[in-house]
């Protein structure tokens, strides 16, 4: 009985160790997937902010708008200057993703 209890406790500990490793790996790989590359970024501001807010944020960060999305609080921006994502966060963006993830928000040809 005691042996089975210690065995199950050991198995739980092993699962926990593997879980921690897997969590770190998933966080790193997810970050790599969603961080903007090639200067393109999907910029998302707070949904309750006023319309046009996302345009202000992109312009403050020194980028230009490449395309709009179906949502008024998200847009695809471009800048060839390094540190574009960091500047977007500083300008007030709530979330900055890679530009290729824009399919999450239906693209439109205009704002």
């Amino acid at each position: 009985m005691q042996h089975s209890t210690s065995t199950s406790r050991n198995a739980l500990s092993q699962f926990r160790i593997v879980g921690i490793n897997l969590a770190v790996i998933l966080v790193v790989l997810s970050a790599a997937a969603i961080v903007p590359r090639n200067g393109q970024a999907l910029v998302i501001v707070a949904p309750w902010s006023e319309p046009g807010r996302v345009i202000d944020v992109i312009s403050d960060a020194g980028g230009s708008v490449m395309n709009g999305t179906g949502a008024p609080y998200a847009a695809i921006a471009y800048s060839d200057e390094p540190g574009f994502a960091l500047r977007l966060f500083k300008s007030g963006a709530m979330l900055v993703l890679d530009g290729s993830l824009a399919f999450f928000c239906r693209s439109t040809s205009s704002l």
Binding site: S13, Q14, F15, I17, V18, I20, N21, L22, V24, I25, V27, V28, L29, A31, A32, A33, V35, P36, R37, N38, A85, D98, S100, L101
Partner: protein, 565 residues
């Protein structure tokens, strides 16, 4: 520590070191210039390597360490591929997935291989659909993913099989080592035991030599004593006993010999006594069996006579049955005749009734005649009166009128007499009708009684038939008893012959038993055992002396009992 653990301990160092080498390669790529975010690549790679290293530090070869380092390698290679985004070498970096998988196989365990393959498959599929540029350069399609997946599955399967074979080989090697050690220990122990046993054998051999000489002397004495006893036994002397004590180990033999002789002597004595009693009893039984044979023959004769008498009774009963049937038939006819008489009586009653009616009509006619006679008398009177008036001329007429008057009076008297006769006749007819009715009633009651008699006679006939059947069965039973009695007679004759043979055999047995000499007390003991009601005043048995068996006279009492039977 077995070979497997040693191998895994050394492999773990290489696997963990390779994680940090991968981080160095990422740094070189950063220096070269890359599109990917350096913070993600370098920071993420360092974090993955650090967590895996801590895991290894905590448990060098545990299953969790193996799986975690495999996952870390898959993630590290994915980061390298990510770091080569935009480079034409990105697709070539995919080869590093397969190389790293092979390196993880050095854990010699299927779990890290599957963990690596699983994470790689999920990574490729998700990124192919979400961000293809993170895994493949330029335009790509699903066929490339499928190709990479096929190669991955093939390599993972081969590595799992290889690991399994290696693990089996290591397990067999460890088992062989353990067996060798155990065998060495056992061989050493056996050698020690053999040496001890050899030293003990030398001391035991000397001691056994001395004991063997003593044993030989004692055995010689015992053999000679037993040989003497057996010679006495061969001569038929069952009184011989071994009195000198043997060695402790052979003392059992002496006591067994003595007890065997005792038992044999007692057995022969009892056998002689039984044979004697059997001989005497057989003679008595033989005489009684002859008497039984004669009585059985008499019984057979009586049974034959009984059977004949029963046969006659059967014939009588059958004759009575036939007569009763005849009586039944006669009673049936009587019943039919009684029914016919009843009809005749009914007809007679009807005839009487008709006679009564005719008498009544005659009475009525007579009454009419009487009235005519009265009117005629009146007319004759009137004619006489007229004739008297006529005088002389009417004298003749007066005579005629007188004659007519007399005739009328005589007619009236005759009519009265007839009336009286008719009344008498009517009364007698009524009484006749009553009598005839009573006769009919009587005939009906006679008919019913005859029916009852007929029923009784039918029952008597049935009973007579059943009696005849029962008597027939009794007759057959008596015949069977007769046959059985005759067979019994033959059997009793055979039994008598057998008993004679038995008596002869018992005499022969006594003659043969006379060869043995036994003590007299054994003879008397066996006799008293078969006859427990021996007289109490019998003198005590004298000192044992040799007796020889011979025929005795104990058959008198048995013969008397059979006479009473």
């Amino acid at each position: 520590m077995n070979y497997m653990t040693s191998l895994r301990t050394r492999a773990a160092i290489a696997i963990v070191s390779l994680l940090w080498i991968n981080l160095g390669m990422m740094f070189l790529r950063f220096l070269w210039g890359m599109e990917a975010d350096p913070v993600i690549v370098l920071g993420g790679g360092a974090a993955i390597a650090a967590v895996a290293t801590l895991t290894w530090w905590n448990d060098r070869t545990g299953t969790a360490t193996q799986i975690s380092t495999a996952l870390a390698h898959a993630a590290s290679v994915a980061l390298l591929v990510y770091a080569f985004s935009g480079s034409p070498l990105q697709i070539d970096m995919h080869m590093y997935f397969f190389a790293s998988l092979a390196i993880c196989a050095s854990w010699v365990n299927w779990q890290p291989i599957l963990a690596f393959a699983g994470l790689t498959a999920v990574h490729h599929l998700v990124l192919f659909f979400v961000i293809p540029a993170a895994v493949f350069p330029g335009e790509t399609d699903l066929s490339r993913v499928i190709l990479h997946a096929g190669i991955l599955i093939l390599e993972a399967g081969a590595l799992v099989a290889l690991g399994h074979s290696l693990a089996s080989a290591f397990a067999q090697s460890d088992e062989a080592m353990r067996n060798t050690e155990v065998a060495n220990a056992q061989a050493k122990e056996m050698s020690q035991k053999a040496e001890n046993a050899q030293q003990q054998n030398l001391g035991d051999a000397k001691r056994r030599e001395a004991e063997r000489a003593d044993d030989a002397a004692r055995q010689q004495f015992a053999i000679e004593s037993i040989g003497r006893g057996l010679r006495q036994l061969a001569e038929g002397d069952l009184r011989f006993r071994l009195t000198d004590r043997f060695d402790e180990t052979l003392e059992v033999l002496r006591s067994d010999f003595n007890s065997s002789m005792e038992t044999l002597e007692q057995l022969v004595a009892e056998l002689g006594s039984s044979a004697r009693q059997m001989s005497e009893g057989s003679n008595g039984v033989c005489a009684d069996a002859e008497r039984i044979s004669k009585r059985t023959e008499q019984q057979a004769v009586s049974l034959e006579e009984t059977a004949a008498a029963i046969g006659r009774i059967t014939e009588n009963v059958q004759s009575a049955s036939k007569r009763a049937s005849e009586a039944g038939r006669l009673v049936d006819e009587t019943t039919k005749n009684a029914s016919v008489s009843e009809a005749i009586v009914s007809k007679a009653v009807n005839a009487m009734t008709e006679i009564e009616g005719s008498s009544r009509q005659i009475g009525q006619i007579i009454t009419v005649i009487d009235e005519i006679a009265f009117q005629t008398n009146l007319l004759a009177l009137n004619a006489g009166v007229e004739a008297a008036r006529a005088g002389e001329a009417g004298k003749g007429f007066a005579v005629v009128a007188q004659e007519v008057r007399e005739l009328a009076q005589r007619s009236a008297a005759a009519a009265k007499e007839i009336n009286a006769l008719i009344e008498t006749s009517s009364t007698q007819v009524s009484s006749g009708v009553t009598l005839v009715n009573q006769t009919g009633e009587s005939l009906r009651s006679i008919g019913e009684q005859v029916k009852n008699i007929n029923d009784y006679i039918a029952k008597i006939v049935d009973t007579a038939r059943e009696q005849a059947s029962d008597i027939s069965e009794i007759n057959s039973a008596v015949v069977n008893m007769d046959q059985t009695t005759q067979q019994n007679t033959a059997l009793v004759a055979d039994t008598t012959k057998s008993i004679r043979n038995l008596a002869t055999d018992a005499e022969g047995l006594l003659t043969k038993l006379a060869v043995f000499s036994v003590n007299e007390r054994n003879t008397s003991r066996s006799a008293s055992r078969t006859k427990p009601a021996a007289p109490a005043s019998r003198p005590a048995a004298p000192a044992p002396k040799a007796v020889r068996h011979s025929g005795g006279g104990a058959a008198v009492a048995v013969a008397q009992e059979w006479d009473e039977f």
